[in-house]
């Protein structure tokens, strides 16, 4: 079977990994996809994904989220992608490639991007059941399956970058995790002895067992052939149920060897400076399978990307540029198991004749080393435990920094550390080395392309879109550039307040301000003082006062006094305004659990008032079509039957969804309904910057969809995992794992802190998902604050929540017992018994729907509405 090549020349790409995908993007950009047939053979069953972030699968990123391409890209450029169909043979004479399926493709240009394979040391039983490698999503799925079903202990062979990630993943899966490293320290390639010691301490503190300076001699198997342990070179034996080999990678060059292409002594397809194989001008090799012109094989994504661009330029041969690849920077910054590790430039001082500047605090797990030339040139360095300065230092590498090097590694507070911002960098400093973006390009994005936010700059320049380590510097640059170009970034809440919501929260809290007017007149913009505020800040301040009510001595009832005038109509009528001016009513059904008697009450009320009923996504029942004067009558009956407000109208906790959990479900491992009810009752009525949704699932099958919630809880065999920052709606986001295997009390305490920290620092109408993306440091910062109490505010956050819980009162019970408040629930102040005639309904599917009034905008004569009088 031969696939007939069309009239146009064919580019055949073997391998669809990160570098392969980058190559496709590069040839598409150069217009080659329009003039060539492009065929891609991919061994894995899925298109290119972000292998750098592979481990994030275990913290909840789905394979789909890791994907680097989509159907649209491939279709737009007419790229033929064959998944699960690797190239098996190349006939260079006939210029054809045969795939595993038997398909044969002709080519004019062949690009090998076959990547690398994990090196597995040749020890006995290395292929036994329970032995894995750590390279693809499929590997991870297999590890996860085995860890959950069979293993309680796991050992990783290799203490490098991937080994540490693999060990962290095993620990996250609930295993006792061991790391076996032949070298005398962890991450021997990136860090030196001092850095290794700092790293070791931190890794051991996390509960991982580290064995350095020992090799693996044999995998020990039981009678069933499955792993039971490993024999080490020091004579000891380590009992383990599974082994993950992560001892480095080797270039995948077998295909090239088989067709007679030259390969290096230690592997790698030999290419020239334009990434063309030295053997055959029709064949290129890029990425981890290539032995570059400088005699090295690069295992990092940034050089691979550069090679992809170089090969694309050579194939285009349009003379616009003569890109070459002669070597690359091996700088890396990683967050391993929560520890920052970075190395850049000549980190080991290999060039000789240089000095080291070292700061080390092994108690704090900190190690920082700079390598400096005799003339003061920064040559490279290693940072462990705190890589904050990485972006700046790397950009200064090769030049003499404007401040003494020691001031760059001292921690804040020790001496007077230099505040060397990115503003000091030259324009040609590379900020994003994954995508080779300079400071000048980023500045240009702001000044010429009018980007004003980091996401815009990322989109415009691609900076920060691969490993993300430069995003912090990116943010500083964008802000500096905006300020320099005179763009005043007004972060104020609205035209009335120059402060952000967070700043107003602090003012209200610290000064115990309980009156909106007081706040406006004292802290509002000059022009707004003495006025009536606006529809933006009134509800925002109303919400802050409500959130802090017990702590600042304000009423906890949102309809009291001046607070009533701050509430949006929904909060003012404690119901949800619908398009025709009627309201909907949602009583609280905690956890979605409801007894038949209560269901009947809801049914009777809906029937008696002629309401439209619908089951909500939050496992409760919404009753639509109530006129404002009906609300107290409806709620009197609901309160009598034991219902309370569901706060469906408020920027506050909505529902905590649940699955039936352990009680009924054969898979359940915890009582998810009880936990959902407890959480819903704890946080009911909590006013926050935006609505809050939650869910509790009783097992990992996740039927309650907890990871689409602001805070979601998923049961594990030993407790609860807490996820935060999820969202459904228009911008879906899976929640991130904040902490795992929590007891009931630990779970509640963490949620208390998380919610109060969110309420304190979020912008108005900023959901937790957007908040997590915005705040500096993101999830890691939030974890530091609420788990490790890095700001020392956890006691206060817990006290605030405790005050909320103890002061909670049901707003509707309060309202139906207050004649003065009830008097507000009328359609007309001068005709309290007359219903609003605009609110009318017509039947549909055995229920009602609004009979909408005709709109007359645009039809009304201009003189129909005369100021100050009504003449008809």
């Amino acid at each position: 079977m031969t696939a007939t090549p069309g009239a146009s020349p064919t580019i055949l790409l073997v391998g669809h990994g990160m570098v392969g995908q980058r190559f496709l993007e590069a040839i598409a950009r150069r217009g080659l996809t329009a003039t060539h047939r492009v065929v891609v053979l991919c061994e894995e069953p899925r298109p290119a994904y972000d292998r750098v972030q592979l481990t994030s699968y275990f913290s909840g990123r789905t394979p789909e989220e890791l994907s680097l391409t989509d159907r649209e890209f491939l279709d737009t450029h007419g790229i033929e992608l064959y998944l699960g169909d690797p190239a098996e043979a190349v006939d260079r004479e006939a210029r054809t490639v045969t795939a595993r399926s038997g398909r044969v493709f002709g080519y004019d240009v062949l690009v090998l991007a076959t990547g690398s394979y994990p090196f597995v040391p040749p020890v006995p039983n290395k292929d036994a059941t329970g032995c894995f490698v750590y390279r693809t999503i499929e590997d991870l799925l297999a590890i996860e399956e085995y860890a959950r079903s069979t293993a309680t202990t796991g050992a990783v062979v290799g203490g490098g970058l991937l080994g540490l990630e693999a060990a962290g993943a095993l620990k996250g899966l609930g295993l006792d995790a061991h790391i076996v490293e032949f070298a005398p320290r962890l991450m021997p390639v990136q860090v030196d002895e001092g850095g290794g010691a700092a790293l070791l301490r931190t890794i051991e503190d996390m509960g991982l067992s580290v064995h350095t300076g020992v090799g693996t001699q044999e995998i020990v198997v039981g009678e069933d052939g499955a792993v039971t342990g490993m024999k080490l070179s020091d004579g000891s034996e380590l009992a383990t149920d599974m082994v993950v080999f992560s001892a480095g990678v080797r270039p995948r060059d077998q295909l090239a060897r088989d067709c007679g292409l030259a390969v290096g002594e230690r592997g790698g397809i030999t290419v020239d400076e334009r990434c063309r194989t030295v053997t055959d001008p029709h064949v290129f090799a890029i990425g981890e399978c290539a032995l570059a012109a400088d005699g090295r094989v690069y295992g990092l994504v940034a050089p691979g990307y550069e090679q992809a661009e170089t090969a694309a330029a050579a194939i285009a041969a349009d003379g616009t540029d003569e890109m070459t690849f002669t070597g690359a920077d091996l700088s890396t910054k990683l967050k391993l198991l929560g520890v920052d590790v970075a190395s850049f430039g000549d980190a080991h001082g290999a060039g000789g004749d240089c000095l080291n500047v070292v700061y080390s605090d092994s108690r704090a797990g900190l190690y920082k080393k700079l390598v400096v030339g005799r003339d003061g040139t920064l040559l490279g360095g290693i940072l462990v435990g705190d890589a904050e300065a990485y972006g700046t230092l790397k950009a200064f590498t090769g030049s003499v920094p404007p401040v003494p090097p020691e001031s760059l590694v001292l921690p804040a507070g020790a001496g007077a550390p230099a505040q060397l911002g990115p503003a000091a960098l030259p324009d040609d400093a590379i900020i994003c080395s994954c995508n080779n973006v300079t400071k000048g390009t980023i500045r240009g994005a702001v000044t010429e392309h009018r980007c004003t936010t980091v996401p815009e700059v990322k989109k415009c320049t691609k900076a920060g879109t691969t490993c993300g380590s430069c995003v912090k510097v990116l943010g500083q640059l964008v802000t500096a550039e905006l300020e320099a170009s005179g763009v005043e970034v007004d972060k104020g809440l609205c035209g009335c307040f120059a402060q952000t919501r967070e700043e107003l929260y602090e003012i209200v809290h610290a000064l115990r301000i309980t009156s909106y007017r007081d706040l406006l007149d004292r802290y509002g913009r000059e022009t707004a003082r003495g006025g009536d505020g606006c529809e933006v800040c009134k509800p925002a301040v109303g919400s802050i006062i409500a959130s802090l009510a017990p702590a600042i001595g304000a009423s906890t009832y949102v309809l009291d006094d001046e607070q009533a005038a701050l509430q949006d109509t929904n909060d003012h009528f404690l119901a949800n305004l619908q398009k025709n001016g009627s309201y909907s009513v949602v009583p609280r059904i905690p956890g979605g659990e409801i007894a038949p008697e209560k269901l009947i009450v809801i049914g009777e009320i809906a029937r008696d008032f002629g309401l439209y009923t619908k089951i909500t996504g939050g496992q409760r029942i919404d009753m639509f079509g109530a006129r404002v004067e009906q609300l107290p009558l409806i709620w009197t009956r609901l309160v009598d039957a034991g219902f309370e407000s569901g706060h469906a109208y408020g920027k506050s906790l909505r529902t905590v969804k649940s699955c039936v959990g352990q009680t009924w479900c054969r898979y359940g491992v915890q009582d998810s309904v009880r936990m959902a009810i407890d959480l819903e009752l704890r946080y009911r009525g909590l006013r926050s910057p935006h609505k809050l949704k939650s869910a509790v699932s009783g097992c990992q099958r996740e039927c309650a969809e907890a990871r689409s919630k602001d805070f979601g809880v998923i049961a594990t065999a030993s407790g609860w995992n807490l996820y935060v920052g999820g969202n459904g709606g228009a911008t879906p986001r899976h929640a991130d794992l904040l902490a795992q295997d929590l007891s009931d009390a630990e779970l509640v305490r963490l949620i208390d802190r998380f919610l109060m920290f969110y309420i304190r620092t979020a912008d108005r109408l900023e959901r937790t998902s957007a908040w997590l993306e915005r705040i500096p440091g993101g999830l890691d910062h939030v974890r530091d604050v609420v788990v490790h109490d890095s700001l020392g505010i956890c006691d206060e956050l817990e006290e605030l929540m405790a005050a909320h819980v103890s002061h909670y009162r049901d707003e509707w019970a309060e309202t139906v017992n207050d004649p003065e408040k009830l008097a507000r629930f009328v359609s007309f102040v001068n005709a309290p018994d007359t219903p609003d005639p605009v609110v009318a309904f017509v039947p549909e599917r055995d229920q009602i729907k609004p009979d909408l009034p005709l709109l007359t905008i645009g039809l009304r004569p201009a003189d129909d509405a005369l100021e100050g009088s009504a003449t008809r």
Partner: protein, 116 residues
């Protein structure tokens, strides 16, 4: 001396052609919050008081949705002038002129109103 008595008895009155139509007691109005009044011809007015006690009245009907809800919007001050924002789609209306601040082609009726 009947001043104190008069204060408590003050009524909010709306001008309809030649007559002043009584809406409610002045004390019923919460500053920053509106009430709706049913007029003799079936139309509706939204009546507001600002924090200084000044009164405003405009048609209650939100021209963008047809719903009679402007009385339930939040009020504010924009460039020194009072406004109400519709609770449905948030368009703002000048309380003195009835002009929509977000769409200059739209205007609602504004009424003369006083406390007496």
């Amino acid at each position: 001396m009947t001043l104190a008595l008069e204060t408590t008895d003050l009524k909010v009155r709306l001008r309809l052609a030649e007559d002043w139509f009584t809406v409610c007691d002045l004390s019923t109005l919460i500053p920053g919050r509106g009430v709706a009044a049913l007029l003799p011809d079936g139309r509706q007015a939204a009546v507001f008081a600002d924090r200084t006690g000044r009164l405003y009245a405009i048609d209650n009907r939100d021209p963008f949705t047809g719903a009679a809800v402007l009385s339930r919007g939040l009020t504010g001050t924009h460039q020194g002038r009072p406004f109400v924002a519709s609770p449905l789609l948030k368009q703002r209306f000048d309380l003195e002129s009835g002009r929509c601040l977000d769409d200059e082609t739209v205007r609602v009726t504004a009424y003369e109103v006083k406390a007496a």
